[in-house]
Amino acid sequence: MTPALELQNLCFRYPDGTEALCGVSFAIGEGECVGLIGPNGAGKSTLMLHLNGILPERLNGAPSVFVSGRPLTTENLAAVRRDVGLLFQEPDDQLFCPTVFEDVAFGPQQFGLGGDALAARVSDALARAGIRGYEKRQPHHLSHGQKRRVCLAGVLACEPRVLVLDEPTSDLDPRGKRELKAVLRQIPATQLIATHDLELVVELCPRVIVMDEGRVVADGPTVTLLSDEALMLAHGLEKPHSLQHQHPHGSRHA
């Protein structure tokens, strides 16, 4: 079975020489939901930018990223960007069109959709993100949580096979978090969620990858790894409250 997403020995150095990623390798199967955790500066966000070719600025040498078996090279950049939907941490950076409709339509339009099919795709994406009917709204009138959902709709409208999310619940109030979790549970695509919200990981991701200083330090079942207090503390994390008493919470594939 070809993994939906595979990294082989991914390395990255910033222009000033700092090493950001070193030998990162893992494979995620179709339909899996995997959490990506680690302290600040571990390289999670940098890693995510590699998954759809935004980094490195010039793709040369042997490819390290494979999406559905296809290597990420300059030639298949467009195709990979169709398959990998990246949701950035800051909604204001991603919501750049004057109205919600235009923003959600942006992706599908780039890939050639138009007319009624486009309108249908947009309203479907908005519905799936839990904000039906927001087409005519203007971004600066939306709350932070609503902006997040519009960004999610914008990514869903591209119908990606792999959904990569960077801190999806940060800055959300408890209700916002609950609603977002409910939405994510419904999405059948493969998911990779980078987050500090360990409870989110416990609830949604049966598998977790731990990163620190640009390297993968652990990769395995969520409950096992997150219950390992020594491992958590060694990498700037902690055991989530829900596991304090060793009660495994419901996972996505309960």
Binding site: N52, D93, C97, T99, F111, Q138, C158
Partner: protein
């Protein structure tokens, strides 16, 4: 405070609001053109334009107080320039004509901006084949105006929280610092927006 007056009412529902943006833009420009070209010898023309504008204002359901406030905000500029007009032969007549014309035109544009979402105006520009670089610049500018204003607000409040004296010299230096920071953050934000556009397949 100024920002609050920015197209606040463009989302209302009224017979005027429902008209297509292109029509409203055309009518507004035509109205301004008419007002500017109306011969001074026929003051009735001005009265007709004023009447039409007031009818549109009434139909648009925009609170008249709001319209009055917007108009008043712009008076000082008009008065300032028109004031210079007084110092010439027949100066007061020139002044009066200029003020009437200016206020009619101001009212027209205030009505336009408050009955038409900016996105509507942008799509008209697109249809008029205005270069896409300019339209994109205008669209992004409008979108991030409020975001940047918020950033300025946050930086100013943070600065004020640590300011114990308000000496004018330091005020200029720290305001300039805020401007500089804002530019740097804007360039960084622009990079992130570029990444977000690419992520969704921007060609």
């Amino acid at each position: 405070m100024r920002l609050d007056l920015l197209d606040r009412h463009s989302r209302l529902d009224s017979p005027v609001h429902r008209q297509p943006a292109a029509a409203k833009l055309f009518v507004a420009v035509a109205s301004v053109l008419t007002t500017v070209l109306l011969p001074v010898s026929k003051p009735a023309g001005f009265a007709i334009v004023a009447a039409v504008l007031l009818i549109v204002a009434a139909l648009s359901r925009i609170p008249p107080v709001f319209l009055a406030k917007r108009l008043l905000l712009l008076e000082p500029i008009a008065l300032g320039v028109a004031g210079l007009a007084v110092f010439q032969p027949d100066g007061w007549r020139v002044f009066a004509v200029v003020m009437v014309r200016t206020n009619l035109c101001l009212l027209t544009m205030i009505l336009l901006s408050n009955t038409t979402p900016f996105a509507g105006l942008l799509s008209v520009l697109q249809r008029l084949r205005v270069p896409s670089l300019l339209v994109t610049t205008l669209a992004l500018m409008y979108r991030y105006l409020f975001v940047l204003m918020d950033e300025v607000g946050r930086m100013s409040r943070a600065r004020a929280s640590r300011a114990f004296s308000v000496r004018r010299g330091t005020a200029w230096w720290s305001q300039a610092g805020i401007v500089g920071q804002l530019f740097i953050r804007s360039t960084e934000r622009a990079e992130r927006i570029y990444a977000a556009m690419c992520a969704r397949g921007w060609q």
